[in-house]
């Protein structure tokens, strides 16, 4: 076993799309099917050829792993805790029904959006994305949701807006099981630069594997930024604020030496705890080489032109 995984070969359409999913979702053809890969252009609606060009042999990570192996510290620090404690978040969602997201800050039209209103902003899209965890493992996950841009366009950021701050649910009087200890600085905060937030790959996910998001995956609404380490994807969002200054994320507060603001997947920037050069795909024994920007370099590298990514890690 001394050699690494071979460079991936081109996949067949059947490898990229779970056939069951395709059958269950008649509207699928209208969705943008995009973005598995290194060098793959963003596929356009109705452009089925694009999938054949994706140069990667990658399969969806099995649903049980996607929904059973999670980092969601609000529901516990163990990988299987979030699923076990899912009931607590389900109860909270019920109590807060209807779930709503406040969008405020440097915007011309601030507001509070219910989940239904958010979903109504844009035709639902399915996005099959790699998810690379900073801990050195990865998955391939079929999300459903809407581009964050659809929401941001609606609220009209002002010229002062430079960053977007995402806040996860934290009810002081009804903390989730993991929030009863100050492991992280609650509420969980994440942030993006405005141009990252407006990027067409940046997704507000409301579903996974054809179902609404289960609690352990960040129900009812979460951020997915596929070229960044997984922790950038704030879960169970309640507030999205357009701000002038770079937000300080919860992980930056907790361990500034290990976690920076950008957290772009980058095999060349070492993490003191884990090698970032390779990763283990859940379900595989060997390691794969980690791709620059998690394989989305063609789409996003231009966002960082001229930046020292070792400094802005």
């Amino acid at each position: 076993m001394p050699h690494r995984m071979r460079p991936p070969r081109a996949p067949r359409e059947s490898e990229v799309t779970d056939p069951r999913l395709a059958l269950n979702r008649p509207a699928r053809r209208a969705f943008i099917r995009s973005v598995m890969g290194a060098g793959a252009a963003l596929a356009l609606p109705g452009c089925s050829r694009a999938a054949e060009d994706v140069p990667l042999a990658e399969q969806l990570t099995e649903r049980k792993a996607v929904t059973g192996y999670n980092n969601y510290y609000e529901l516990g620090t163990g990988k299987t805790d979030p699923k076990q404690n899912a009931g607590a978040l389900a109860k909270l969602i019920e109590r807060l029904d209807p779930w709503s997201v406040v969008v405020d800050g440097e915007v011309s039209r601030p507001g509070r959006f219910t989940l239904d209103e958010l979903v109504g902003l844009h035709a639902p899209e399915e996005r099959i994305y790699r998810m690379r965890c900073v801990e050195g493992w990865s998955m391939v996950i079929p999300w459903e949701g809407l581009p964050l841009k659809a929401l941001l366009d609606r609220v009209e950021p002002t010229s002062q807006a430079r960053f977007v701050r995402f806040e996860t649910v934290y009810e002081r009087d009804h903390p989730l099981p993991g929030q009863e200890r100050q492991v992280l600085d609650w509420p969980y905060v994440e942030g993006l630069r405005l141009d990252e937030a407006l990027h067409p790959l940046t997704l507000l996910a409301t579903g996974v594997y054809g179902d609404p998001l289960p609690p352990q995956n960040g129900a009812p609404l979460r951020l997915v930024v596929p070229w960044k380490y997984g922790f950038k994807g704030g879960k169970s969002l309640v507030r999205i604020s357009l701000v002038r200054e770079m937000p300080t994320s919860s992980w930056m507060v907790a361990v500034p030496r290990e976690y920076g603001f950008y957290a772009n997947v980058n095999p060349n920037v070492e993490h003191p705890r884990w090698s970032q050069a390779t990763e283990r795909r859940i379900g595989e024994w060997g390691r794969r080489d980690t791709l620059m920007f998690n394989g989305y370099a063609d789409e996003v590298a231009s966002l960082y032109r001229g930046m020292d990514l070792k400094k802005h890690f």
Partner: protein, 201 residues
């Protein structure tokens, strides 16, 4: 004191009981009891098994002083060797499966990731203790054998520290183990004082 057959049975029970973690692991990995990342899940489980056995081993000497009739001292070497057994599985899994015997990657890990640096040192200490655990080495080293085998304390402390450093944020478990280790370190002089006092009366 119990008779010979009873002691033999007890010895076998203790021997087999310490295989239980391995049995559990073999069942737990394919059924995803520990997660969906078999290599990392196994690494963590094997490492913790080694650590718990080291701590149990360290508890034997003070317990022997308090309850000499139980004859727990008979099991001390076996527990220590089992701790080494699990530490070896842990190290082998890391070297062979996780790092795929790529020497450059292993070397980089050892130099640049402090949790691995400390883990390797702890393992080398345990290796020394395991090799010299035989009667032959005891005879050969004489008085120096006891001195050498006090290395089990720094080895355990390094192993706890290795665990502490490898945890991302939630350090409760390694901190609890560090507390247990401190108690066990205190237990040695305390039980010596206690048995000395009892002997005088």
């Amino acid at each position: 004191m119990a008779g010979r057959p009873a002691r033999r049975l007890a010895w076998w029970l203790v021997f087999l009981a310490q295989l239980a973690p391995l049995g559990y692991l073999i069942w737990a990995i394919p059924t995803h009891q520990l997660g969906y990342e078999p290599v990392v899940d196994s690494l963590r489980f094997l490492g913790q098994s080694a650590l718990y056995l080291l701590l149990i081993g360290l508890a034997i000497t003070p317990l022997q002083r308090l309850m000499p009739r139980l004859g727990l001292i008979d099991y001390r070497r076996m527990v220590g060797l089992y701790a080494f057994f699990y530490a070896t599985l842990h190290a082998a899994l890391w070297l062979i499966v996780d790092r795929q015997l790529e020497l450059a990657a292993i070397w980089e890990d050892m130099l640049e990731r402090e949790h691995i640096t400390f883990g390797v040192i702890a393992f080398l200490l345990l290796l020394t203790l395991a090799v010299t655990s035989t009667k032959g080495w005891m005879r050969h080293l004489g008085r120096r054998w006891r001195l050498l085998h006090r290395l089990v304390y720094p080895a355990t402390a390094l192993a706890v520290f290795h665990f502490f450093l490898s945890v991302k944020l939630d350090t409760r478990t390694p901190l609890i183990l560090a507390g247990v280790l401190i108690l066990l370190l205190l237990a040695r002089p305390l039980t010596r004082w206690w048995t000395g006092r009892r002997a005088r009366h």
